[in-house]
C-alpha cells in the first residue's frame, strides 16, 4: 500500500453490504436517468419517422406563389428542395373517373418522392415527357395495366389520355375511399388543366437543409419575397419533433415533457444523494478512526471524494448498459409490432443523449453527493471512534416521546421524524415520484384526445353501396358470413333525411339499423333507458345532440316511404360513431324494425373485420362482392393509426413505468439504508431484550411515517400541478373539464405501498437473522 487512498478498495470490501447498496443505488439511478433520456430521444425519432411517413418530410408549405417567387425560393441556400404540387378531384366530387372509379389527378416535381416516402415508385420511372403519368397499384390491378399502356381518364365533358410510365403505391386515403390516382409532372398537369390552372394553384413544399433555423428562415423568405404569413403553413408534427415548430402549444408540450424528464433525473440524483449520505454516516467511526490515526480533515475529504469516483467507475457502466438494453427492447417492440412505419429507426441504436446524460448526471451527482458526506466525514471527531454508543450515526437532538404509544412504535416514529432534515428529504423524494407520475399521467389523456384510436368496431374493409341506398342484398351478407377468414361482419342500413316530429317539433333525422355487435358496442354510451327493447324492435335509440332531445318513453313520428309511423324512444345514447350533420337527429333501431319502417331489405354498408388481413383474402372478398359496390380498404389506414397510437403509448407508459420504478427503488433503498444505519442500535436493543416482533413494528412505524408523509406531500403538491397542466394541455384545447386523477393516484399509491411492504422484508429478515454479539461487536 503506497498511499492511504489505496485503503478505498480495502475498506469497500470490509463495508461490502453498505457499499453494495450504494453502488446499486448509483447503477439504478444512472439506469433510470439514461433510460428516460434514451426513451425521450427514441420517442422523438419515432415521431419524426412517423411524421415523415404520414405527413411527409417537408417542413413548410407556401401557397399562391408566382413563378418568379418560386424560382427565388428554390435558389435560397437554406432551402434543400422545393416541390410543387397540385391536385384535381381531391375530394372525389368532380367526376374524373377511370372505369367508373373516382380518380385523383396530381401534378408534382420529381422531388415529391423524397419528401413523401409513403408514396414510392413500385415500377417504372417518373414521367419525364408530356402526357406521361404514374398510376396507383390498385388501378394497375383492376385495369390490368403495364408500363407503356394508355389510360383514358373520363373528365367532365371531355377525356384525358396518358401513357403509363410507372406505378405508385396507394395512399391509405385512396384505399379507404376506393379511388385511383394519376400522377404527372407539373408541365403535363399545366397543359391538361391550362384553362383552369395557374402556377399559383401549385403549393410549394419546402424542405430545408439540416440544422437550419427554420422559423427565422421562413421569416426572412416572407420578407424578401413579399409573401404574406397566411400563405405559409408548417408540417406541425415534423417541426414539433425537431423542436422548431412555430406552434406555441406543441413547443410548450415538448418543453413540459423535457422538464418532467429533467425532474426524473433530479429524483435519481436525490436517490444517490440519500444513499451516499447514509453510507458515510454509517462509517462515521471508520472516519473517526482515520482521524485518530492522524489523517487530516482534508485527507478524509479527499478520501470520500476519491471513493465516490471509484464507485462511479464501477457503477455507471452497468447502469448505462441496462438502459441501452431497455431502449433496444422498446425499439424492437416498436419495430416488430408496427413494422412498416419505423423502418428508419435504428434496431440497435445507442441513444447518445441517453448515454451522455447518464454519465454526466451520474458523475456530477455522485461528486455533488459526496460533498456533504465528505465535509461531515472530515468533521468527525477522533473521539467518535472510541465511544461505542449504539448507533453513533444520528446524533439525536431531541428525545423520543414514549408517553402514550408503545415504546417500539414511539421509537420508530422518532427514527423517521426525529431528524427533520432526514424526514423532509425522504418524504420529498417519495412525493416527487407522485408528482411526476401525475404529471406524466396527463400524457395518457392527451394521447386519447390527440390520437385517433382504433375502436372495437373499426372495420378492416367495408363494402359500401354506390349511392348510399340499401342496395346490398342480405344474400351477400350471409355468403360472407360463411367465410372463415372473416372475424366479424356487421351491416347497417341507412335512411337519410327523414322528416320527423320530435317533442312536437318538426325535425329531420337519419335512421340507422344496428345488429347484435353494434348494440353491444353502443352499450357503454347509453345514458338513459334500456337497450333490450331496442334490440327486440320495440323502440329506438336517440342520439343526444344540441336541438335534438326527447324523453325516454316518448314517441317520435317518422315519415318514410311507407307513410307516417310512430316509434317509441327506449333509450338515449350519448355518442354514436356516425354523425348525421348539424341539426339532423340520429335514430337507431333494430334491423327488423328498420325493414318494417322503410320497406327496404338490404344494407347500405357491410363492415368486415378479418382474422387474416392479407391481400389475397381481401381480393377474394372484393371479387365475391362484385363490381356493383364501393370497396373501402382501411387496413393501411388502421396500421397507420395503430403505429401512431402505439408509438405514443409505448413511451408514455414507458415514462410512467420509469417514474414508478424510481418510486419503488427509492423506497426500498431508503428503508434499507435507514435500517442498516441503525443495525448496531437494533443489536443493542436485542441484547437488552427487545423481541424481533417489536423491532419489526419499529421499522414498520418508521416506514409508515415516510410513506404517509410522502403520499400526503405528493398529493398536496401534485394535485394543483395536475390541475394546471390539465387545464392548459387538455381543457384549453378539447374543453374537457378537469377531473381528479383518481386512477393514477390509486396506481402510484398502491405501487408505493407495495414497495414499502417489500422494502421492509429484506431489512426485517436481516434483523431476525442478525447475531447480536457480532452486531454490537462485544
Amino acid at each position: 500500500m503506497k498511499n492511504y487512498l489505496n485503503l478505498i478498495p480495502i475498506s469497500s470490501k470490509l463495508h461490502r453490504r453498505q457499499t453494495r447498496m450504494t453502488r446499486w443505488c448509483i447503477v439504478i439511478s444512472v439506469f433510470l436517468i439514461s433510460a428516460i433520456f434514451g426513451m425521450a430521444d427514441m420517442f422523438l425519432q419515432s415521431q419524426k419517422n412517423l411524421a415523415v411517413m404520414t405527413d411527409g418530410a417537408w417542413h413548410v408549405v407556401f401557397r399562391e406563389l408566382d413563378e418568379e417567387q418560386t424560382a427565388l425560393l428554390a435558389a435560397r441556400p437554406e432551402v434543400k428542395s422545393v416541390t410543387r404540387y397540385a391536385a384535381t378531384n381531391y375530394k372525389l366530387d368532380m367526376g374524373y373517373e377511370v372505369g367508373g372509379v373516382q380518380t385523383v389527378l396530381c401534378g408534382f416535381d420529381e422531388t415529391f418522392f423524397e419528401i413523401y416516402p409513403q408514396a414510392h415508385l413500385t415500377e417504372g420511372a417518373f414521367p419525364e415527357r408530356d402526357r406521361e403519368a404514374l398510376v396507383t397499384e390498385s388501378m394497375r390491378e383492376r385495369q390490368g395495366l403495364s408500363v407503356g399502356d394508355e389510360v383514358v381518364v373520363a373528365a367532365p365533358g371531355d377525356s384525358l389520355t396518358f401513357r403509363v410510365s410507372g406505378f405508385v403505391e396507394d395512399t391509405s386515403m385512396m384505399l379507404k375511399t376506393d379511388s385511383f390516382g394519376v400522377f404527372m409532372n407539373t408541365d403535363t398537369y399545366l397543359s391538361c388543366f391550362r384553362d383552369a390552372t395557374l402556377t399559383a394553384d401549385f403549393a410549394c413544399y419546402v424542405e430545408f437543409v439540416p440544422h437550419c433555423r427554420i422559423q427565422r428562415a421562413v421569416g426572412d423568405i416572407c420578407e424578401s419575397l413579399h409573401i404574406a404569413k397566411e400563405q405559409v403553413s408548417e408540417n406541425a408534427r415534423l417541426m414539433g419533433t425537431l423542436g422548431q415548430s412555430g406552434d406555441h402549444y406543441i413547443m410548450m408540450l415538448y418543453l413540459v415533457a423535457f422538464i418532467l424528464a429533467a425532474l426524473v433525473a433530479v429524483s435519481g440524483m436525490m436517490m444517490i444523494l440519500g444513499s451516499m449520505n447514509s453510507n458515510v454516516a454509517q462509517r462515521t467511526e471508520f472516519f473517526g478512526m482515520m482521524r485518530c490515526l492522524g489523517a487530516t480533515a482534508k485527507q478524509v475529504r479527499r478520501y470520500v471524494r476519491t471513493e465516490a469516483l471509484f464507485w462511479c467507475m464501477k457503477a455507471i457502466p452497468p447502469g448505462l448498459l441496462f438502459s441501452v438494453v431497455t431502449v433496444w427492447g422498446l425499439c424492437r417492440m416498436l419495430k416488430v409490432i408496427t413494422p412498416t412505419w419505423f423502418s428508419e429507426m435504428p434496431g440497435f441504436g445507442i441513444s447518445l443523449p441517453g448515454v451522455f446524460f447518464g454519465i454526466l448526471i451520474g458523475i456530477l451527482t455522485v461528486l455533488a453527493a459526496s460533498r456533504t458526506p465528505a465535509r461531515k466525514a472530515s468533521e468527525v471527531s477522533p473521539l467518535t471512534a472510541v465511544s461505542g454508543n449504539a448507533g453513533t450515526v444520528f446524533a439525536a437532538k431531541r428525545a423520543a416521546h414514549t408517553g402514550r404509544l408503545h415504546v417500539e412504535t414511539a421509537l420508530g416514529l422518532h427514527h423517521a421524524a426525529g431528524s427533520r432534515k432526514n424526514l423532509i428529504l425522504l418524504t420529498s423524494s417519495f412525493a416527487f415520484s407522485i408528482i411526476l407520475f401525475l404529471g406524466f399521467g396527463i400524457g395518457i389523456t392527451f394521447m386519447k384526445h390527440a390520437i385517433v384510436t382504433l375502436r372495437p368496431y373499426t372495420p378492416d374493409i367495408s363494402v359500401v353501396s354506390q349511392d348510399d341506398s340499401c342496395s346490398i342484398p342480405d344474400s351477400l351478407y350471409t355468403a360472407l358470413k360463411e367465410n372463415t377468414d372473416i372475424k366479424r361482419i356487421f351491416g347497417r342500413s341507412f335512411a337519410y333525411d327523414l322528416p320527423a316530429q320530435i317533442q312536437g317539433e318538426d325535425k329531420r333525422v337519419m335512421l340507422i339499423s344496428y345488429e347484435a355487435y353494434q348494440f353491444g358496442w353502443a352499450e357503454g354510451d347509453l345514458r338513459q333507458g334500456e337497450m333490450e327493447a331496442v334490440r327486440d324492435g320495440e323502440g329506438v335509440l336517440l342520439v343526444e345532440k344540441p336541438g335534438i332531445a326527447a324523453a325516454v318513453g316518448s314517441d317520435i313520428e317518422l315519415e318514410t316511404k311507407t307513410g307516417r309511423q310512430k316509434v317509441r324512444v327506449a333509450g338515449i345514447l350519448g355518442y354514436a360513431p356516425l354523425d348525421s350533420g348539424e341539426g339532423v337527429g340520429t335514430v337507431i333501431c333494430s334491423e327488423d324494425l328498420f325493414r318494417r319502417l322503410t320497406g327496404e331489405t338490404g344494407y347500405t354498408i357491410l363492415d368486415i373485420q378479418l382474422h387474416d388481413k392479407s391481400d389475397a383474402v381481401v381480393e377474394g372478398i372484393r371479387s365475391a362482392a362484385g363490381e356493383n359496390y364501393r370497396f373501402s380498404d382501411s387496413r393501411k389506414n388502421n396500421r397507420e393509426t395503430r403505429a401512431v397510437y402505439f408509438s405514443f403509448a409505448l413511451f408514455v407508459y414507458g415514462f410512467l413505468a420509469v417514474v414508478a420504478l424510481i418510486a419503488v427503488f427509492n423506497i426500498i433503498n431508503s428503508i434499507a439504508m435507514s435500517v442498516s444505519a441503525r443495525m448496531r442500535q437494533y443489536g443493542a436493543m436485542r441484547a437488552i431484550g427487545i423481541s424481533v416482533r417489536q423491532l419489526q413494528s419499529m421499522v414498520a412505524a418508521e416506514t409508515l411515517v415516510y410513506l404517509a408523509g410522502g403520499l400526503a406531500e405528493g398529493l398536496v403538491l401534485g394535485m394543483p400541478l395536475h390541475y394546471y397542466l390539465y387545464r392548459w394541455a387538455i381543457t384549453a384545447r378539447w374543453g374537457d373539464a378537469w377531473r381528479a386523477p383518481v386512477i393514477e393516484c390509486l396506481v402510484i399509491m398502491t405501487v408505493m405501498t407495495l414497495a414499502a411492504v417489500a422494502a421492509m422484508t429484506g431489512p426485517v429478515r436481516r434483523i431476525r437473522e442478525m447475531s447480536v454479539v457480532e452486531t454490537i461487536g462485544m
Binding site: G388, N389, A390, A396, H406, L411, H414
Partner: protein, 231 residues
Amino acid sequence: MEIVEVQDLCKTYGMGEAKVEALKHVSFTLQKGEFAAVIGESGSGKSTLLNCIGALDEPTGGQIMIDGRNLFAMREEERTIFRRRNIGFIFQSFHLIPELNVEQNIIFPLLLDYKKPDSRQVEEVLEVLGLQERRRHLPGQLSGGQQQRVAIGRALITKPKLILADEPTGNLDRKNSREVMELLRKASGQYQQTILMITHNPNLITSVDRVMQVADGILSDLGGNVNEKLS
C-alpha cells in the same frame, strides 16, 4: 438457591483449520445474591461465556439453567422476554439508545414489557445513581461514567435475578470505576441480585464473593479469598 447453573458448556467458532474452541466443558453454579468475577487473559473466552449465559449467543453444547429454567429449551420469542425480565446487561461500551433520555433509557426494559414504570422506583434508582439532575439529558450529553451509570440503572430497573457485566469499567477512569463497583455491590447486597462480572482490573476483585478464571476456554474456580493468592 441456585440462580445460574452451567453444565458442560462448550462453544466452538468456525470449522476446520479456523476452528476455535472458545469454551471447553465449562460447569459452575451461582447462588442467589452472589457477586462473582471472571478474570482471564484477552481472548481466553470470558465474553463468550457471558454471552452464552445471557442468551445472546448459542452454545455448541451443554446446558444453561437460569432460575431453574433451561434457556435454550425456550422458543426464541419466549427467551427474549425471559431475558429482558430476568437478566440485566451492562456492557463495556454502554450501548444506550441515543434517541432516549436518561430516564427513558433506564425504564426502557419496562416499556418493552408495556408496563407502567413505578415512579417511586424510578426516583429511587435515579437517586442511587446520582442522575436526578440529568434525567432529561440525552446520552450524547453525558460523560462516560454517567453513561455507564445509566446502563447500570437500566440493568437494575426490572429487578432481574441476574446481572451480567462485561468489563463495565473498561472505558472508565479510576474514580468512575470505583463508583460503578460500589453500585454493583450495593445491588447484590441490598436486592439480593446475582452478579457475574468480567474484569481485567485486579483491584476490582478485592470486594467480590468469588473469583473464577478462564484460560484457553477452561474455567477454574479460585474461590472466595483469591486476593491473597494473587498477590
